[in-house]
Amino acid sequence: MQRATFFDHLILWAGVIFLVAPIWLLLASSTHSVDTLIKEGLQWLPGSEGLSAYKTALMTASGFTDTATGLRMLVNSTIMGLGFAVGKIIIAMTAAYTLVYFRVPMAQFLFWLIFSTLLLPLEVRIVPSYEVVSQLGLLNSYTGLILPLIASATATFYFRQFYKTIPEELLEAAQLDNANAWLFFKDILIPLSRTMMAAMFIIMFVVGWNQYLWPLMMTTEESYYTIVMGIKNILSVVREGRVPEYNVAFALVILAMLPPVLIVIIFQRWFIQGLVESEK
């Protein structure tokens, strides 16, 4: 194998700086006072204010929203991320179970029905989706936030592929032991899927947390704001020509990315496995 040269490392570091620098600038600037930021612009080095901007961002409505605190929006985002990931994994595992392990009439038709959802992302059917959710009275609710996002088959596809790699002998053995369909699912498939479930969960949580357009349309009550869409209000303040509390604004932006970033860093191995597998 060829060894990396000094030049190779130089290129890699250039890539790292390109990716990290923007976030670092924002992070460092969030620890400065508003005055410093207005007078001298964004700061490369951490300032003297420490994490006080984060306290303001978390505990108060901070001028960008009227009532929703940063903490409230973080809680809502957590609910959406968890609900999205768990919901998607449950319906995917059960639907894939039917598709792989049962002989049902119209199986082919069901297969295409489910997988045709891969053709049309939510962004494209956004206006009619809004109408449907509003007719069902689900605007400003967690159900309305989560369910329409789950209506696609990415995870189902993935679990179907995975089930097909499980040896047939397992089912034969289970049937000899008189296990019924539910017991086989619960005692054999779920334990076998554990790693896959973890990998899926990481990806789906990040995807759910990062949703922007759907919560933006769905929520008019601030108590349902998620943080990723809530920070849009920072821009409204700027566009109205007011000078925002820059440090608090930056703190909110950092808070909006912190949980998914931490999860990806901590569960790096599962994350990469989930990413590579889920896109296959």
Binding site: M1, H9, G41, F102, P121, V124, V127, P128, A249
Partner: protein
């Protein structure tokens, strides 16, 4: 293909598949069919009544200069994002694959940006390139370029492409690195014996073996540039100046939700539906058939 050994069919399989069918029925097929239906309807300006107008919305759409320029912008923008993010990620992956010590550190530093939402990336960039406090703005202006994304389509497009590429490099990097690492050591050793020049070795051995990954990534990246950049555009330019940086997906939202022209917006949804289907078909047929060794 189903398993050879299966459970006999009772009511059980229907219970297991019911949640998925229910959710896609209500939240996918109902809205999708409604989009199709609405694309043939024309609402009066007050939204009180609507009439069936056959293909009038499509006619309006295809003769509109606005839609033509949006389409051209989307294609050019997507092309730039796909080429740049694939190119940069490939270079980084090849270099990272050659590193023996510290590869994990590089991998971590080059992948975590995946977790940053497009909307969050957009706001971050907004501040970095802000004329009051943005240090990147100062840097650009000091070169003599009067950077003004609010009024110049070119500047706004450059900014959008830059941030979109930044956001997409990690995904491509992960896949390219996985692809590189799946090349067997024996192949690499054989190549090393036969060919002295690393550059030639890359183009004759490594790159062809990576081609399936690259083509697959191309589809993923086009999908990204079309659909996932919504949050980025909405936070960075909102289509400004004068709608010249709206992508086709952003325009569906602008016309349908902000402009309340449901018929025209739905017709655009249907056009995008057809585009996505075409893309998927290309992925399954053309690419899989042409790329084999």
């Amino acid at each position: 293909m189903a398993k050879k050994v299966q459970f006999a069919h009772t009511w059980v399989p229907y219970v297991f598949i019911a949640p998925q069918l229910l959710i896609i029925g209500v939240f996918f097929f109902w809205p999708a069919l409604q989009a199709l239906y609405l694309s043939f309807m024309l609402e009066d300006p007050w939204g009180l009544s609507s009439t069936f107008v056959w293909f009038e919305n499509y006619q309006t759409l295809f003769t509109s200069a606005d839609y033509l320029s949006t389409t051209l912008f989307t294609l050019g923008y997507s092309f730039a994002v796909v080429v740049l993010s694939l190119g940069i990620a490939l270079i980084l992956a090849v270099k990272a694959n050659a590193v023996l010590h510290g590869q994990k550190t590089y991998r971590l530093l080059l992948t975590w940006v995946y977790a940053v939402a497009p909307a969050v990336a957009g706001i971050t960039a907004y501040f970095l390139f802000n004329r009051h406090i943005g240090v990147f703005y100062d840097a650009i202006v000091s070169t003599g370029w009067l950077f003004a994304p609010e009024t110049s389509t070119f500047d706004a497009t450059v900014l959008l492409i830059l941030v979109s590429v930044w956001k997409q490099i990690p995904v491509n990097f992960v896949f390219f690195l996985a692809g590189l690492q799946s090349i067997p050591v024996t192949v690499r050793e054989a190549a090393q014996m036969d060919c002295e020049s690393p550059t030639r070795r890359f183009w004759t051995i490594t790159f062809p073996l990576l081609a399936p990954t690259a083509f697959f990534l191309m589809v993923i990246n086009i999908t990204y540039a079309f659909f996932d950049t919504f949050g980025l555009i909405d936070t960075l330019t909102q289509g400004r100046p004068a709608g010249s940086t709206s992508t086709m997906v952003y325009k569906v939202y602008q016309d349908g939700f902000l402009g309340a022209d449901l018929g025209l917006s739905s017709a655009q949804s249907v056009v995008l539906m057809i585009l996505v289907m075409a893309l998927v078909m290309v992925q399954f047929r053309f690419v899989e058939r042409r790329i084999h060794y």
